[in-house]
């Protein structure tokens, strides 16, 4: 591994020490503005924000990235378009976004170390890694009515019989763009851009009213 490869990009850990710095998730304003209805027994959808995770965009050839990821994180690149895979712990996921683009999500605080190790491993290969942790957030939706809620919101076919666990797509959500992923039988995830987060949240509360949507904070 050459120092020079590392030096040709600017490696910058933009994460602060969360103990000493006030930190606000993309939904911070929304909690204030729209509130968060508590989940009840009637709730057929429960929403949670998974805050401050590490989000990395990986660009490059599938083969080299696959090898590097296996070595660094013990996850292989998903083999098919529009799918994702997790590591054994289920805490780290890698999702196909395009033939040369993947979204890697890791626990908060890991992003920079992972980026550095991947860069070291990839060295002079043709690739790029971009930290976008501050620009997006991950929402989980859990419950039997999630597909119904999503059908009111996205144009993609989210019928559970056609959207197996491990599928993930970038698609139109109301008038925004989100990534929709299915991470379990009744568990779905949305990756939402920060600046659209309030809009998406308000849309979800509105569309979820008939399913008594609850929000866990």
């Amino acid at each position: 591994m050459s120092e020079s490869a590392l030096s040709r990009v600017n490696l910058f850990d933009s994460r602060a020490d969360h103990a000493s710095v006030a930190v606000e998730s993309p939904l911070a304003y929304s909690w204030q503005r729209s509130g968060a209805p508590a989940p009840s027994a009637a709730s057929r959808v429960v929403l949670r924000e998974q805050t401050f995770l590490g989000h990395l965009i990986l660009r490059g050839g599938a083969i080299v990235l696959d090898e590097a990821l296996r070595e660094v994180l013990d996850i292989g690149l998903p083999g098919r378009p529009n799918t994702l895979s997790w590591d054994v712990s289920g805490e780290r996921s890698i999702q196909w976004l395009s033939p040369d683009e993947w979204l890697l999500i890791v626990p908060g605080g890991e992003a920079f170390a992972v980026e550095r190790r991947l860069r070291e491993r990839l060295a002079d290969a043709s690739f790029a890694i971009v930290d976008v942790s501050g620009g997006q957030t991950l929402l989980t939706l859990e419950g039997e009515a999630v597909p119904e809620l999503l059908m009111k919101s996205v144009v993609y076919d989210v019928d559970p019989s056609h959207f197996p666990v491990g599928k993930g797509v970038n698609t139109v959500f109301a008038k925004a763009t989100v990534i929709v992923r299915r991470s379990g039988e009744t568990r779905w995830e949305l990756v939402v851009r920060r600046s659209f987060a309030d809009y998406c949240y308000r849309w979800l509360l509105d569309a979820g009213e008939e399913y008594a949507i609850g929000v866990e904070r």
């Binding site: 378009p81 529009n82 395009s98 033939p99 993609y156 698609t171 139109v172």
Partner: protein, 113 residues
């Protein structure tokens, strides 16, 4: 509303995820400085406008963000094929001779994109 097969996502997706970007296979002249005003104007503004089979550039804007080509019938709106950038259509309106009898421009030889 169209349903378009994205050759990169390898599945049919809704038109709302895509943007049309005009005629496909328009190549920027390799040496713009050597073009006459007329040739440059042709490259900028003159497009095929067939009533029938047309090759178009689309982008899967809300999806994989890749550009690709679509062969589509402009009356029936049937999509006859989609294919990646750099590939050539397999469905064409006429034998792959030049479309217009007056097409003099060497500007648009070599359809690469």
């Amino acid at each position: 509303m169209f349903q378009i097969y994205c050759p990169y996502c390898e599945e049919l997706r809704e038109e709302e995820e895509f943007h049309p970007k005009g005629q496909a296979h328009i190549v920027r002249p390799a040496n713009p400085e050597a073009c006459s005003d007329e040739e440059w104007g042709d490259y900028l503004f003159f497009r095929d406008n067939p009533r029938g089979i047309h090759h178009e550039l689309w982008v899967h804007a809300v999806g994989c963000r890749k550009f690709f080509n679509v062969t589509r019938h402009t009356v029936s709106y049937a999509i006859l094929e989609t294919y990646k950038i750099g590939e050539q259509p397999s469905v064409t309106a006429e034998p792959a001779v030049s479309e217009s009898t007056t097409s003099t421009d060497d500007v648009r030889q070599g359809v690469r994109a």
